[in-house]
Every structure is written in structure tokens, then in C-alpha cells.
């Protein structure tokens, strides 16, 4: 499937979602239950009137576009308060792996994997509980594939080095710099230890609010189960807000108000050394860490997924202990404000710890933007498929490109040829006339692009094999900091005696099916059709005689077993 990467400028403005006259506003996002308690992300406005889907439950564009969806996918998610990016945990995105963390835009486009399996661990375990920072630049998550460092000692001098733990990690949302921030400190004589539970960011990204069992169970206070404030740069516990010596801890009610002035957690109570007998919401003032209010939950010893309102004045929680299940809004003293039934949808936001968001956005007005206008070329070979790249963000969370992989794309061409874009961004071109030119127009969320020049080629031109151009390969290294991939540099040298006009592409041929090039420019339509290729010299460039150009390849080889391939160099007008 050849890809055409489109890049354009997009200015993003989010709705404020500010409550007017104290009335709730915005929307709740939750996981739609497709039978296993898991599914895609759905939304509903705060009145409970308008339900809508943000993502399909499986495959993101390669499955059903309307419910019911065939298989579950997203299990837990969170949303950046400043720009709507969503970080989520999915198991079925890769059925051969445990759950990993992904990111996507607020409209469900631009899905990208950001965490990967650690092949050094003994047991393949999940990454879970993703909490994305307010600016969308980083995600804190629980990594059950953490290895206890050398020198980790348990009670009585037991050497617990190398044992596997569940610890807090932080990764940039572009997938770079995954690193551990807090891991178990206290081990018993059998190397038993606590585990990370859930963490949420302060709005300024300088602190984490955590609920876990990493506390000191050896101390007289037995505060293994803790609600604490942690410095993400050091992993140090800044302040313990609550602890108890009962069994277990609830993780589902944990949030930091969007204005940063308050923190909230669902805290267990009762039990006196046994299993806890009640739960209560506790709200703290983050300037003094004094308790503002303590609110008993309505159903005693139960968990309630709870979030602050966008204006930080209310709490919304999901009650699955009543029939039908309800979404409830109350003030910070526990006084009810409104409630609506979730009976009209098969919602299950209580099924996972991190699967409820109170977003400031309003359904139907997710965002507005202005489009830049690229010029694109479409090769109309039979069965040739144009794939529009998903949206991309930089490491600060700013949108840098948008592929319009939403359901609202509208394309028309001027020569009678047709372009169909399905609901999830796959575009199919059918040529009905000879080569010609025309325009296409893109639209999404009520904003239309200017018309975009489009050139179609009924003759199915392919790039030619480029003689006199050689490819030299560098060595390979497995680089942990590069998302555990093998990196290799390829250098193209023009020995033809004359200049070669771009685009110049290197086609990677014969790669085993288990190995992927994760940073490929696209997939070929002509030379070894379906093979990945890398563009070394762009369309507006050239390679002078004797000149060289290099490109780095990122290979993902999960088996570490090695791989062979051959290369071909193509250049000129047409598809690689």
C-alpha cells in the first residue's frame, strides 16, 4: 500500500468548556463495553443527551465503522487537558504482545504506539494506567516489565536484584526517553514487594499524585497502601496524603483539578487491619495539603470512577452499583447537582481504572483549524491505494501535521476520476479517464481546505531503476533508547557521472515478514510492490555526480534473530 505523506499547517483552538452560571458543561468520555468490559472510546455531553463514538473498538479503520464492534481494544485512557490528545492502553492492537501504551488525537486519528515490550524480562507483562500530561507531551504509566536494579535487597539480606516489578515510568508521547521514575523500595525476605497503581499529573507537569502499594510495610505505621505526591524527576515521595493498614486500595478515583488548586482521591476506610469496609472521597487544597472535604460514597465499600469538572468546581462520577448505571455530578462538598442514566449505551467506564475523562470540549465542536494547501501527486495504477498519513505532534504536544483521517473527508477530482476516503482515512483512487489534472478539497469539523492541485496518471508511471548509484550499509546496533530497535545507516552515492534528479528512493526488498522498518517513507507500488522504501532525496532535490546522501533505518526485529534484505534505488517521476 503506497503512502502519500501530507504535511500542512493547522491551527488548533479548543472550546473552553467553562461552566456558565455554575451549570456543568463539556462532555464525558468513557470506554464503550463491547461485551468484555472493554472497547472503543465513546462520549456523551453532560446532560446525557448526545452520545457519540470517537473510535471504533478495534483496528482503527480496518474494522466496523459502527457498533457493535467485533473485538475489544482500548482498555484505559486519559486525555490531555490543553490539547485533547489521548493516551490509551490497548491489548488487541498487537495480539502477539501484552498491552502497550498508544497516543492519538482527540478525534481518534493519528494512532501511534509509544511503549514497547522489554525483551530482557522473563515474563511478558503489560504497560497500563496511562495518564497523559496536560500539555500532551508525556505519559506516566505502570510498567510491569521493570527489572529491580543491582543491589536491591529484601528483608534479612535476601538479594532481590533482577526480580520483575510493576513501577511507574514516564515516556514522551513521541515514544522517546522511556524511563523509570519510581519503583519498589521495600521487599520482604521472599522478595515480595508492593506495586505501582495509578498516577495522574499536576497541571504544570511538576508533580504526580499516586495511589499504590509501594509504601513501607515494614514500618510500625504499615503505610504500604498510600495516596502520595511524588516528584517525577526523582521519584521521591514529597508528601503522603493518606494511608491505611487495611487490605487493598482503590485506584479509580484519583484526579488533580485542571486549575491545579485541588487534588482528589477515593480513600478506603474501616476494616481495622482487615479488608476495608467503606470508601470516601477526600479533596485536598494543594497549597497547604489540608483536607477541604471528606465525602462518603453512596454505596459503601465500592469504587467510583471520579474526575474534576473542567472548571475545577465539581466532581463527576460513574455509579455502577445502581441499575441502570448513572453518571453523577456533585459539588466539592458532596451536594448532588445532576445525574443521568447510561442505560441507552452499554457503557463500562468502571471496568478499568483510567477510563473516564471529563473533557472541556463540546460534542460536534471539537476543534477548528485553518489548512495549508499542499500539492500532491496520485498514481492511479490499478488497485493503487493512497494512504493519508495520520496526524503527528511534536514532543511538546503541538500539532505539526494532520492527515484528515477522520470520517469527514470529502474529495473530488476535476477529470471525472474518483477518490473515496473511508471513515478511518483509507483513500481509494479509481481512474475513469485518461491522465489529467484537477482539484481536491479536504474538510473536517466544519472547516474546508482550499482546493488542492492533483495530478492523476492513468499510465501508471513507475520510477526507474537508477544505474550508477550505489548503496553502502553501515553496521547494526540494537539501541534500547531508540524504542529497542536495530539502527542502520544507508548511504547512497552517485557514481553515474551526472546529476540524478529526485525523488531518489531506496527500496528494502525481501525483508522477513516478522521484521518491519518503522520509519519507512512508505510502501512501494512498483518495485517489489508492498516493500518499504526510504526517500533519500526529495522531489525538489538532486544528487550531483560524486555526491552522497545518508538515511537511517529503524528495524523492529522482536525475535532478535537477524534479517537479510536487498536494496534497489529508484528515481524520477512515478511511484517507487
Amino acid at each position: 500500500m503506497p503512502r502519500l505523506a501530507l504535511s500542512w499547517t493547522l491551527l488548533l483552538a479548543l472550546g473552553t468548556g467553562t461552566a456558565i452560571g455554575g451549570a456543568p458543561s463539556g462532555e464525558f468520555l468513557f470506554v464503550e463495553n463491547v461485551g468484555a468490559g472493554l472497547g472503543g472510546i465513546w462520549g456523551v455531553d453532560v446532560t446525557g443527551t448526545n452520545f457519540f463514538a470517537i473510535t471504533a473498538a478495534s483496528g482503527f479503520g480496518f474494522s466496523a465503522t459502527t457498533p457493535p464492534y467485533p473485538s475489544p481494544d482500548i482498555q484505559e485512557f486519559s486525555q490531555a487537558k490543553n490539547n485533547g490528545r489521548i493516551g490509551f492502553m490497548s491489548l488487541m492492537m498487537n495480539p502477539n504482545d501484552s498491552a502497550r501504551i498508544y497516543v492519538m488525537n482527540g478525534d481518534g486519528t493519528g494512532v501511534k504506539q509509544v511503549t514497547f515490550h522489554n525483551p530482557s524480562v522473563s515474563f511478558n507483562q503489560s504497560h497500563s494506567e496511562p495518564s497523559i500530561s496536560a500539555d500532551g507531551s508525556k505519559i506516566v504509566y505502570v510498567n510491569a516489565e521493570t527489572i529491580a536494579p543491582a543491589g536491591t535487597m529484601g528483608a534479612g539480606g535476601t538479594n532481590c536484584s533482577g526480580t520483575q516489578t510493576a513501577s511507574y515510568w514516564v515516556v514522551n508521547t513521541d515514544g522517546t526517553n522511556p524511563h523509570v521514575v519510581r519503583q519498589p523500595e521495600f521487599y520482604d525476605v521472599h522478595c515480595n514487594k508492593g506495586a505501582a497503581g495509578e498516577a495522574v499529573w499536576s497541571p504544570d507537569g511538576t508533580k504526580l499524585l499516586v495511589a499504590d502499594s509501594l509504601g513501607d510495610f515494614n514500618s510500625p505505621a504499615n503505610c504500604q497502601y498510600e495516596i502520595a505526591v511524588v516528584d517525577p524527576s526523582t521519584g521521591n515521595n514529597i508528601r503522603t496524603l493518606a494511608c491505611n493498614n487495611t487490605w487493598g486500595i482503590t485506584q479509580v478515583g484519583l484526579d488533580w483539578s485542571p486549575d491545579g488548586t485541588k487534588a482528589m482521591a477515593l480513600v478506603t476506610c474501616g476494616g481495622a487491619g482487615g479488608e476495608h469496609t467503606c470508601t470516601q472521597w477526600v479533596v485536598w487544597d494543594t497549597s497547604t495539603w489540608n483536607v477541604i472535604s471528606t465525602i462518603p460514597t453512596p454505596s459503601g465499600n465500592d469504587e467510583f470512577l471520579t474526575r474534576f469538572s473542567p472548571d475545577s468546581t465539581m466532581l463527576g462520577y460513574y455509579d455502577q452499583n445502581v441499575s441502570p448505571h448513572t453518571m453523577n455530578i456533585m459539588d466539592l462538598s458532596g451536594n448532588p447537582i445532576s445525574s443521568f442514566s447510561m442505560a441507552s449505551v452499554n457503557a463500562d467506564p468502571g471496568g478499568a481504572a483510567g477510563s473516564l475523562v471529563w473533557s472541556a470540549s463540546t460534542p460536534g465542536v471539537l476543534q477548528t483549524f485553518t489548512l495549508g494547501v499542499p500539492s500532491i501527486y496520485v498514481n492511479s495504477c490499478p488497485n493503487y491505494t493512497l494512504y493519508i498519513e495520520p496526524s503527528e505532534f511534536n514532543s511538546s504536544g503541538a500539532l505539526i501535521a494532520h492527515g484528515f483521517t477522520s470520517a469527514n473527508i470529502d474529495m473530488t477530482s476535476g477529470d471525472g476520476a474518483s477518490i473515496h476516503v473511508d471513515g478511518f482515512g483509507n483513500a481509494y483512487f479509481n481512474a475513469t479517464r485518461n491522465s489529467g489534472s484537477g482539484t481536491l478539497q479536504l474538510s473536517s469539523f466544519d472547516a474546508n481546505s482550499s482546493t488542492i492541485p492533483i495530478t492523476t496518471d492513468q499510465n501508471c508511471n513507475c520510477q526507474v531503476s537508477t544505474s550508477g548509484v550505489t548503496v553502502a550499509r553501515g553496521g547494526l546496533r540494537y539501541v534500547a533508547s531508540s524504542q529497542q530497535q536495530f539502527l542502520q545507516t544507508l548511504t547512497v552515492t552517485n557514481n553515474s557521472g551526472g546529476a540524478v534528479t529526485g525523488p531518489i528512493n531506496i527500496v528494502i526488498q525481501g525483508l522477513p515478514s516478522t521484521v518491519t522498518v518503522t520509519n519507512a517513507s512508505g510502501t512501494t507500488g512498483c518495485t517489489s510492490s508492498g516493500s518499504p522504501f526510504m526517500t533519500v532525496v526529495p522531489a525538489n532535490g538532486s544528487l550531483a555526480a560524486g555526491q552522497s546522501a545518508s538515511v537511517q533505518l529503524d528495524f523492529r526485529d522482536p525475535s532478535l534473530g537477524g534479517f537479510t534484505y536487498t536494496t534497489a534505488v529508484t528515481s524520477g517521476f512515478g511511484a517507487p
Binding site: 530482557s120 553502502a472 540494537y478 539501541v479 533508547s481 537477524g562
Partner: protein
């Protein structure tokens, strides 16, 4: 004279080299604990066992290394005393890691065979992991985040050594390693043993013939 020429034809290994890294900044760094990572990969993506690398004469400047690897994949042989590591290309990916307590410096003697991989260079790299489980970022131009990269011969290219220091913003700032020559013998290749055997046989044959008249 004949012997020297013969050994040259047989392809003696890459001259033994002492590599020394100033690790003083690691001693007080909060990015620890640290892990040493040595890696040798097949350039052609297979496991042809073209080359091998020996690391010996380790010095830790008052620091230490665990004698038992925390991770070992492929053709790895570790000799605990004196500490030495052999990486042989019995697999595509050959990697060994050790827990490392830094001292003022880390040094070792590198030697290798130099058989030519016609597809791409067999590559040895040395990197240090910090407590995030990732390499300390370096200025290595290949993107390897390694302090030492040695590309063994491939095609018309000979041995290429790249020594790098920490990249700006890395968890710990280290200068590039320094490189010096060593008098220690390099790793003999199978062809070298064959050459020695042939030489010995020739000497025996010549002795049995007696002095020429």
C-alpha cells in the same frame, strides 16, 4: 621475513587497542546504577561467524564490575579471573551486560579478527545504561548512543573506529574514550592457527632434511 609476510597474508587481527574512559562523573551521578553493554552484530544480518572480539586487561579505577552478566545473548564467553569477555558471531545479535560500580576510569584492551563481511560491517559497540534502562546518550553519528563503535572491514572499507562522548542533555556528561596501542597479541583467527601449523610443519620438515649442502 618469511614469517612476517606469511602472517600478514593470513590476516592478523585488528591491532590490540587500549580504550580508556574517564568515569569520574559516574561516581557521583544520580543516574546510576549503571550497566556496561558490549555488543557485536553481524553486518549481513545472518550468523556467519565471520569475526570475534576479545576484551581483556580490564581496569576499573577503583570501581568494579559484576563477574556474572545480568544479560547475555548469543556467542558470549566471560572469564571471571582475570576478567575478560569474548564476543563471537555465533548469532546475529551477540550482547552481554554487567552491573557496573564506577571508579575514576574504565579501561580495557580491545582486539578482534578482521574478516571482511561483503554486505555490511560487523559492528562492535560499547555503551553504558543508566537507571532508566537506556543508553547514556552520546554523539555517535550512527545514532547508536555508544561510546565506542568499531566497524570491521566490509567491501573496500577497512576498520573504522568511532569514539564518542555524551550528547548534550545526556543523563551524565562523559568525554570520549582515549585510544592507545597495546603490546598484547590480538585474537588469532583460525587461518592464523593454520599458518602456525604449516610453519611448524615446514620447520620440522626442514630439520629432518638436514642442512642444505
Amino acid at each position: 621475513m618469511r614469517l612476517a609476510l606469511f602472517l600478514s597474508v593470513a590476516g592478523f587481527g585488528f591491532g590490540s587497542t587500549i580504550l580508556t574512559l574517564n568515569t569520574t562523573p559516574l561516581e557521583t551521578s544520580s543516574a546510576g546504577p549503571f550497566t556496561l553493554d558490549f555488543q557485536l552484530n553481524e553486518g549481513d544480518g545472518g550468523s556467519n561467524n565471520y569475526n570475534q572480539v576479545t576484551l581483556s586487561n580490564f581496569g576499573f579505577g577503583g570501581g568494579s564490575v559484576s563477574g556474572v552478566p545480568t544479560s547475555s545473548t548469543g556467542g558470549i564467553t566471560v572469564t571471571p579471573s582475570p576478567f575478560a569477555v569474548l564476543l563471537a558471531e555465533t548469532s546475529f545479535f551477540n550482547d552481554v551486560q554487567f552491573d557496573f560500580t564506577p571508579g575514576s576510569s574504565l579501561s580495557f584492551t580491545f582486539s578482534s579478527t578482521t574478516n571482511n563481511d561483503p554486505v555490511a560491517p560487523d559492528t562492535f559497540t560499547f555503551a553504558i545504561y543508566d537507571n532508566s534502562g537506556n543508553e547514556i546518550a552520546t554523539t555517535n553519528p550512527s545514532g547508536f548512543d555508544s561510546f565506542v563503535e568499531v566497524d570491521l572491514p566490509s567491501g573496500n572499507a577497512g576498520v573504522n573506529t568511532i569514539l564518542s562522548g555524551s550528547a548534550p542533555g545526556a543523563s551524565v556528561m562523559l568525554n570520549p574514550p582515549t585510544q592507545g596501542s597495546s603490546s598484547s597479541p590480538s585474537v588469532p583467527e583460525p587461518s592464523y592457527f593454520a599458518a602456525i601449523s604449516l610453519l611448524a610443519a615446514a620447520l620440522v620438515w626442514k630439520t629432518r632434511r638436514g642442512p642444505e649442502v
